[in-house]
Amino acid sequence: MTKYNFSTVEEMPPLAFSLESTRMIPTGSWRHVRPVYRDKNSPCHITCPAGEKIPAYFELVRQKKYAEAWYKILEDNPLPGVTGRVCYHPCEAQCNRAGYDGAVAIHNIERYVADKNLQNKKLPAAVESPKSEKVAVIGSGPAGLSCAYQLSRMGYRAIIYESDHEPGGMLRYGIPDYRLPKKILDKEIKDIETLGVEIRTDSRIGGNVAWNELERYDAVFVAVGAGHSREMETPGEDLKGVYSGIHFLRELNAGNVPKVGRNVLVVGGGNTAIDAARSALRLGKRVTVLYRRTRADMPAVPGEIEEAEKEGVHFEFLVAPVGLSGDKGKVSEIELVKMKLGDPDESGRKRPVPVKGSNFSLKADTIISAVGEEPDLSFLPYSFLKKGIRLLVDDDYTTGVPGIFAGGDAATNPNGTVVNAIRAGKEAAISIHEFLGWRSRSNGASHNAVTPEEVNTFYFPHGNRVKVPTQTIQKSKSAFSEVNRTLTEEQALTEAERCFTCGTCLHCDVCMTFCPDVAISKDESGEYVIDYDHCKGCGICVEECPRGAMELIPEGAREPAEEVD
């Protein structure tokens, strides 16, 4: 700016005038609250048992970087094609968009990303340098695969012992094809093997492989799952035509279609019961599910129950089996008693109590009993602490025996779902890593998530949730072909656009746009810089931030640490 030097009064202009910029005035001293950029966790990420970084991979999907999005998911979950199909997606229930115009269809995007990478041979490299320690994993179900995979990423040699002929555990033998085609599972297991995990099939610990052999390993992870059907504890269970749900599904998945009559009764209300019922329906039978509580109490995933009903499965609630009777050793009739709900039990649900004198009988030629599964732990050589029928483990998946960890359905897995098993495997891998003397990178992330109130919905025009393409059983070519389809690219992109990306700054410039003090700018790397010499702390940037990635803190307070994983 030109400097004026006036030697006489006459030289001065007739009016007072200003030549300096107010930039010299530090109006930041007026401030009593200070805006800060602070990425926060999204509710979906916090809710996801596997801890998938959902906002991050959604952003990659929006940029059509599908391989990168896949790698992002693989950091936490080696089986996105599986969970994209069978996960009960608790993330969606917590989605901040749920109360606005419907939760984002997160699991459909996960599946889209996985399917988009079915042919992708380029896998992400291990994140840490190779280590000398070896870890044995017993069981190749979701918990075992997840643990071995994470260990392998950390540089360990992980060897899985699988008693069956093919790996996958319940994923292979428990979930029917119409929900999870085998080729998806095969592909994702193959990827895990490519990354360095060795899977030894037909190797039963305590059978053809002695427990002692495991002593060569530095740690062991027990993830044998719960593959043993509980009994109904009613007389006549050994009659012909009575199957356990697990056995029925197992035979079917192994390609040996079990002999079933025309009239199939399924006892139980869990996912196994529903899977068995829908499978029997696909064999062309009339199927009725008998459950001793009400529909709302069913432990099965609600969406699966709805689909079963739509396909034509019948339901009878508040009935329990009393006995089975047969004709020439073959089941022909089931005696049932009506139930009513009493006081709540330890699960918080009302306990069903039999109604005296309400017994009645139904004709049936096949009974599938699916009243619960339990692990078979008879192979363990010394007595582990147990909680009920399962192995007792601490929060860090340690058993009482040093070096032996356990997780998944064999241990105290909260709800017996695939994704919780994946979480157990991942977290156990971190525990094993620490047990072997390394420090884990986990940072004790906070569990505070962006609330719906922190999202500024003005910036998000309404848009309906994607309608997932389905193929009804009546229309499908083969009875066991997959019911739900993968989204098209257009659908996936539209749906990904619906995501608020809660808590993660996307550099949308809204904060900069509305700053009355011109105190926000971008540096060379595109990051925002707040000019605290001039920011008066009005808070407009924080209030207007579409996704809750900013915060107002009292002036003088220490800047809080980032809270995201």
Binding site: S18, P516, H534
Partner: protein
């Protein structure tokens, strides 16, 4: 679909360090106006908040020449500045009169009307914070019905409706007239740019919330501005030649109550009086809406275009005749 984003001109003409209160709408208005007009601009400011905001001598925030002038003279001073620039052969520099509602609706109305009637070639932006805020929140004729100010205390809040300055200016048949809001910066900037390219008198009425005067937390400035639009309290429109009305944004039609409830200046109002305000807003909206061109959808916020330079003003055509031009030239000599 996807998130709403704004593409504003990157250059920041306005400097930080100005004396506006936190969350000031008038300051955002100036920031957007200068982004739209660029550095080749002279601003004329009468007595108003901006007399203070621009900074004490020897400092100035605007980043362009600012002429501070008396309360009633924004329009006449701007005429003079424009004439002075013309005399120097500078026909490029934009002259912007930037006045509050007091200096526009009340004290400066005579000069404003004169400049509009003569179709003087400059832009007049009125940043309307609905009272004399700078002097201590006294009511102006822009203060809305039912509002508290220090001169309309809660026992007897303002009993009169807000003066319809837009209709007054429309009656002058000026070439371009628009309303804008700090909550829709892209719309405001495109309207100011449009005004820049039109010869003659342009008037832009900007809704500029005032946190201390309206009694709300400064972070809610944009939210309140947005609600004023969505509740039809302050419709976003353009009027060409005083007769062609175009709606810039179809409001969602949220209840006026939602807008009123978040401002302390309306806290004393009971449901009945809020109902009266709602009726008043609806009535005004119906009247305005009936004048708007039906194809509102074609004119989304910020996308309407001005078809060349139509000169409906007889005065302008007369001034533009060859003999008139010669006269002007000889007068200048």
């Amino acid at each position: 679909m996807g998130q709403i984003k704004y593409q504003l001109p990157p250059e920041e003409v306005l400097a930080p360090g100005h004396f506006a209160c936190p969350g000031c709408g008038a300051t955002l208005t100036m920031r957007y106006a200068l982004k739209a007009l660029g550095r080749k601009t002279v601003v004329v400011i009468p007595a108003c908040c901006w007399s203070v905001i621009d900074g004490p001598v020897p400092y100035s925030a605007a980043g362009v020449p600012v002429f501070h002038t008396a309360f009633e003279t924004a329009a006449s001073t701007a005429c003079g500045v424009k004439a002075g620039l013309d005399a120097q052969g500078d026909h490029e520099t934009t002259v912007l009169a930037f006045a509050g509602d007091g200096g526009t609706f009340d004290i400066g109305l005579q000069a404003l009307s004169g400049a509009a009637e003569r179709n003087e070639d400059f832009i007049y932006i009125c940043y309307d914070n609905e009272a004399y805020m700078n002097t201590g929140i006294q009511r102006s004729s822009a203060t809305p019905l039912g509002a508290w100010t220090t001169t309309t205390p809660t026992e007897s809040p303002k009993a009169e409706k807000k003066k319809n300055i837009v209709e007054i200016l429309a009656a002058h048949r000026i070439p371009y007239l628009a309303t804008a809001s700090v909550a829709y910066p892209d719309d405001m900037i495109s309207k100011i740019r449009k005004a820049k390219d039109i010869r003659g008198f342009k008037f832009i009425h900007v809704f500029s919330p005032c946190p201390p005067g309206w009694k709300f937390e400064p972070e809610d400035s944009i939210k309140i501005s947005r609600m004023a639009i969505e509740s039809k309290v302050f419709p976003l429109i353009e009027i060409f030649h005083g007769t062609d009305y175009k709606l810039s944004k179809e409001p969602e039609g949220v209840p006026v109550r939602d807008y009123i409830k978040i401002q302390g200046r309306f806290r004393h109002l009971d449901e009945e009086r809020i109902g009266i305000i709602q009726e008043n807003v609806d009535e005004e909206w119906e009247r305005l809406y009936s004048k708007c061109v039906p194809t509102t959808q074609a004119h989304h916020a910020g996308s309407g275009e001005f078809q060349g330079e139509r000169r409906s003003s007889a005065a302008l055509s007369i001034r533009e005749t060859d003999s008139a031009k010669k006269k002007v030239q000889s007068a200048r000599r």
